[in-house]
């Protein structure tokens, strides 16, 4: 059982066929169709909320999960749509929306959305954001969105981030009195607060590569699985082998042995884009590799992987 109420299982089964059509539309890069399908899914959930009596325990909580499933579907197609359009900053926001939806789905049901989770987490790795701004705010108290009492008092029976008849208990800040600090952190609560780069910045070169390949229909979105990042040593093309006591080639004016003698190899980031073989259209992967790239990216195949090196 993925859900708390039996009715919800039936509902989800009906939704699954719509979700399949949605994924198909995303694969065909028909984002208007995808948008309409998400609206249909939302409408379907809304109608069932009114049609089905609430006598089944947990049904309203299940509806919350289904709504978050629709949010995930929407965030998923919006992420890819923004990537294809070269709107990488915007795509980051949609990606985070999708990951937030997955957290709720996993917490409040036994549904596992592995395709979405793996794919979105894989995509997350190729964004240039590693540090985030985190603000420490001083607040009088947090008011419960369900009962209106101070959510941190025993007067309020609700626990933050738990579901109560389909409503997520959350604290609404009451009177922000000041800012204690702003930190730069690696693991913020919300990853949307980033130092922004221009969409045409070289920081987005891998996303630009994906964007170009998708626009040229070189692979299907549903076949994209994950990204593995590793460090590789490569020959330094600028390296010049000299006698130890000769002046270094870099122009520093000091002896080679005290300067660039150890720079024969460079350590670079190596990205493996993992695709699903079963979903891969025949021959497309090879085409992807042959696609001319204006970016300084070197690519080559390894089975179902496309290996990339930023040069």
């Amino acid at each position: 059982m993925s859900f708390r109420a039996k009715t919800s299982e039936t509902l989800f089964a009906a939704l699954e066929s719509m979700t399949e059509r949605l994924l198909d539309a995303i694969d065909k890069i028909e984002f208007q169709v995808a948008k309409e399908l998400v609206e249909k899914i939302r409408e379907f959930i809304y109608q069932n909320k009114n049609l089905i009596p609430e006598r089944e325990k947990g049904f309203l909580d299940d509806l919350f999960v289904l709504r978050r499933y629709a949010d995930l579907a929407e965030a998923h197609f919006k992420t890819w749509k923004s990537i294809i359009n070269g709107e990488f900053t915007l795509s980051w926001i949609s990606l985070q929306d999708g990951l937030d939806a997955i957290r709720h789905i996993k917490k409040f049901s036994h549904l596992q959305p592995p395709l979405y989770e793996q794919q979105l987490l894989g995509l997350e790795k190729i964004y240039p954001y590693t540090f985030f701004a985190s603000v420490g705010l001083m607040v009088d108290c947090y008011i419960c969105n369900i009962c209106g009492f101070d959510i941190d008092s025993f007067e309020c029976p609700h626990v933050v981030d738990e579901l109560y008849n389909g409503t997520l208990a959350q604290g609404i800040p009451n009177n922000v009195t000041g800012m204690d600090h702003v930190s730069i952190v690696e693991n913020p609560k919300d990853k949307r607060c980033v130092v922004e780069y221009e969409d045409n910045s070289e920081h987005f070169s891998l996303l630009q590569y994906l964007s170009n390949a998708l626009r040229a229909e070189k692979f299907r979105i549903s076949s994209f699985r994950d990204v593995e990042i590793s460090k590789r040593k490569v020959f330094n093309p600028d390296y010049v082998s000299l006698g130890r006591n000769e002046k270094c080639y870099c122009g520093s004016g000091i002896k080679f042995k005290k300067c660039c003698i150890a720079e024969r190899e460079l350590v670079i980031d190596h990205f493996d884009l993992i695709f699903s073989d079963s979903l891969k259209p025949q021959g497309r992967m090879e085409e992807l590799l042959k696609a001319p790239e204006s970016l300084s990216v070197e690519s080559f195949t390894q089975g179902s992987k496309v290996s990339l090196r930023i040069l």
Partner: protein
């Protein structure tokens, strides 16, 4: 200790247990209260004021809900600080003689485990725990502080079985 792995032994470095010469707030609490766990505010901001970390109350309510046999109280504060971090910052707690430190650490671990039900693949948040208690024999006030991931916390729990804990005290 012998059945701990090297990783677990490394993880044990992530906690500290120090003697406090004096903590007037704790002394007042221990003299006047029989509550097992008190969630207390800490000093923050400029000018300094006592504030709770956001979520402290939810932690207290969670204990009441899941461990109803344990008495818990939240010492009020006029301010709260919202840290906006994915780490788990559990509030400073005072423990009376009714509750042993290992029991409290277990409660904290259960709370974290439930909070991590929504974790995504690769999520490994840092957990911060602080607790003060009084050594029964010497009367010394001790402060336990932990900073590490959930696996490290579980390693600490494994070490703090009750016999080890009694030796520690």
């Amino acid at each position: 200790m012998s059945d701990l792995t090297h990783t677990q032994l490394e993880a044990l470095k992530e906690y500290t247990l120090e003697d406090l010469d004096c903590d007037a707030r704790f002394t007042r609490f221990i003299e006047s209260s029989r509550t097992a766990i008190a969630i207390v505010p800490e000093e923050y901001g400029e000018p300094r004021c006592f504030a709770h970390k956001a979520g402290s109350g939810s932690f207290g309510k969670w204990i009441r809900l899941h461990k109803p046999q344990i008495d818990v109280v939240i010492i009020p504060a006029h301010q709260q600080i919202e840290l906006r971090s994915s780490d788990f910052w559990l509030p400073l707690v005072y423990l009376t003689q009714d509750i042993a430190l290992p029991v409290y650490i277990n409660i904290a671990s259960d709370y974290i485990a439930e909070k991590m039900r929504n974790a995504l693949k690769g999520d490994n948040p840092t957990i911060h725990i602080k607790a003060e208690y009084q050594d029964q024999k010497s009367g010394t006030i001790k402060r336990f502080a932990f900073k590490g991931d959930h696996d490290a916390l579980k390693a600490v729990i494994k070490k703090f079985d009750i016999n080890e804990f009694m030796k520690l005290k």
